[in-house]
Amino acid sequence: MAKNISVAFGGLLAVNDVSFDIPKKSIVSLIGPNGAGKTTFFNVLTGLYKPSRGNILFGDQDITDLPPHKIAEIGIARTFQNIRLFGLMTAQENLLVAMHSHLKSGVFATIFRTKRQRKEESEAVDKAQAILDFAGVGRWTNEYARNLSYGDQRRLEVARALALEPKVLLLDEPTAGMNTQESQVFIDFINKLVAERDIAVMLIEHDMKVVMSVSQRVTVLDQGEKIAEGSPDQIRSNPRVIEAYLGKPKVARK
């Protein structure tokens, strides 16, 4: 899907010639040490940054130059490394905002509350509730997002992304700050998601247990370059990956 992406900030090459493909209904992971360019790569995929070189294809469509809201509409949704919910909106409203591009009612329909608009709204509310329930935050419908616990905020953010009805879901460190038990719940949730919906998931994750247990394929970035790609087992034993994470073995120690 992404081909030969490079992103440069001034003279700094943050992502260098990385190609990437997310197959349908798959779970793939992107890992790498801090500052490897993982989040930058996400930002390019979602249209926040324009790549200096390379193209992003969604199916057959070139989406490289589309603005973020168009990319979201087409079907790429994301969560953020540091949660970015609309804190002073309720859980339900957060989801309804994400449905923006799927709703049609204009200014006049809203002012006069036409039959169609009311129908659309109530359907959207029902759908939002279904997604909230699915994500396990159904009881917080009318609670302000900022009042939820950390774990629930993470779940709500995923729910909000799902409300976009994405084909591809990008999760940026979804289990950061979760304990083992919570992570396990989250793993189950992701598996359920891919099993039940026509969706592909791409993870950025530091928790290797999560990465290794859910991913069908793992890609490793280091300093903006792709240094390895393969199944979890292949990655585990790849010398370049070990090097990137643990450092080069000193010659003297040989």
Binding site: T46, L48, P67, P68, H69, A72, E73, A77, R78, F80, R84, L85, F86, G87, L88, M89, E93, L96, V97, A98, H100, S101, L103, S105, V107, T110, I111, R113, Q117, R118, E121, S122, V125, D126, Q129, T141, Y144, R146, R160, A161, L164
Partner: protein, 395 residues
């Protein structure tokens, strides 16, 4: 289940305000239309009303309410600071000046106007001019918004500031605008057509009926504000106010959403402009000065950003103090204590003081929106906490 209660609550709250609002409107209307001219009214009450809230001052306050409600959509809902709102007021005013007076004396266009068909000038029906004024303003709102709304908030505020200076200046010097007289310059356009209202035409002195009209216009803006707020666009505005980046990532088109806020807010400014022109029976360039923009922002902020009732209260109180309240208070004070202090010259000192006090003690405004209250108090807490932490670190 959740859905059904949600929708019924929604309609009920909408109907509730309409009832309360109508009663308030009726009380005001009867007081000013029938009670005030009634000969049996005790002289004390008559004098009191005329001193503290004369009909003209009340109507002017309502014009401010109409405009503040529009500005609230821009500032309160979408979180865009607009320091040039007076421009929309001016454009609306001149729409009235152009389309319902004898200003273009060399033309003779009469479209359901309220004056005899043979009178020179353009005379379009008032109700249509309201719409025209609103739409022209919405157009200008979008025009100025399109290139500038990409800017981050502070810079946007600066550009709107410039816009709010340019438009009134153009009208002020408009006697020779590339060879055309578009505004009569400082002389202003005097006499606009009366408002056709069924059985009679409302001239400049029909305060009571015009009061009812202005209350109705304000109600229209309240209605639009509340309805939009609950809908798709209102949610998008809120999301943009909360977190622009996240909103765009969730499929909200930033430009279009902000432009909509700008255009709808400007529309209300146009209504206010046309209404004001009929209120003072003319259009005077010097009325549209920069202070009005700040004044309107102060109304929105003091009243309670994002809450229409707060904004109405803020607009009422501030315009009353500015227009009549302070003067009345001053004369009472001077009579009682035998002094001769010119209270009206302290208007802006007072406003400054009130603004500072509000920011210190009640940042969210008189009648805050529930979300705003949370936000403002949270940040207060954060500050205190961080100060605490600093103290601890310092030790």
């Amino acid at each position: 289940m959740v859905k059904s209660t949600g929708t019924s609550n929604l309609t009920r709250s909408n109907r509730n305000w309409i009832r309360g609002y109508s009663i308030a409107a009726l009380v005001m209307f009867i007081t000013y239309q029938y009670l005030l001219p009634w000969e049996g009214l005790p002289l004390g009450i008559y004098d009191g009303i005329n001193k503290w809230m004369p009909p003209a001052a009340l109507n002017e306050s309502l014009v401010y309410v109409i405009m503040a409600l529009g500005l609230n959509i821009i500032v309160g809902y979408a979180g865009l600071l607009d320091l040039g709102y007076v421009a929309f007021w001016a454009i609306g005013g001149y729409c009235a000046g152009w389309f319902m007076s004898e200003f273009f004396y060399f033309l003779n266009i009469n479209f359901f106007g309220s004056v005899p068909a043979e009178s020179p000038g353009i005379h379009i029906n008032f109700w249509l001019v309201l719409l025209i004024g609103g739409l022209v303003c919405a157009f200008f709102g979008a025009l100025i918004g399109a290139p500038t709304l990409r800017l981050k908030s502070d810079y946007l505020a600066l550009v709107t500031l410039g816009f709010g200076e340019i438009i009134p200046q153009v009208f002020f010097n408009g006697e020779d605008f590339f060879g055309f007289n578009i505004s009569n310059g400082t002389k202003g356009i005097v006499r606009v057509d009366p408002i056709p209202a069924g059985v009679k035409n409302l001239g400049p002195f029909d305060f009571g009926w015009k009061l009812l009209l202005f209350i109705f216009l304000a109600a229209v803006m309240v209605f639009i504000s509340l309805r939009l707020r609950r809908g798709r666009l209102g949610r998008a505005w809120l999301a943009v106010r909360e977190d622009e980046l996240a909103a765009s990532m969730m499929g909200v088109p930033l430009m279009r959403t902000k432009l909509a806020a700008y255009a709808i807010g400007a529309f209300s400014g146009g209504l206010g402009g046309v209404a004001f022109a009929t209120h003072v029976d003319g259009v005077y360039a010097e009325r549209f000065n920069f202070a009005i923009s700040i004044f309107l922002v102060a109304m929105v902020v003091l009243g309670g950003m994002g809450n229409v009732w707060g904004v109405i209260l803020g607009a009422f109180v501030l315009s009353w103090v500015n227009g009549n309240g302070l003067a009345a208070f001053g004369s009472v004070y001077n009579e009682t204590f035998g002094t001769s202090i010119d209270f009206t010259s302290f208007t802006f000192l007072l406003f400054g003081l009130v603004l500072i006090l509000m920011m210190l003690f009640k940042r969210e405004g008189f009648v805050p929106e529930s979300r705003m209250k949370l936000l403002m108090h949270e940040s207060e807490l954060d500050e205190e906490e961080s100060v605490e932490k600093k103290k601890k670190v310092g030790r």
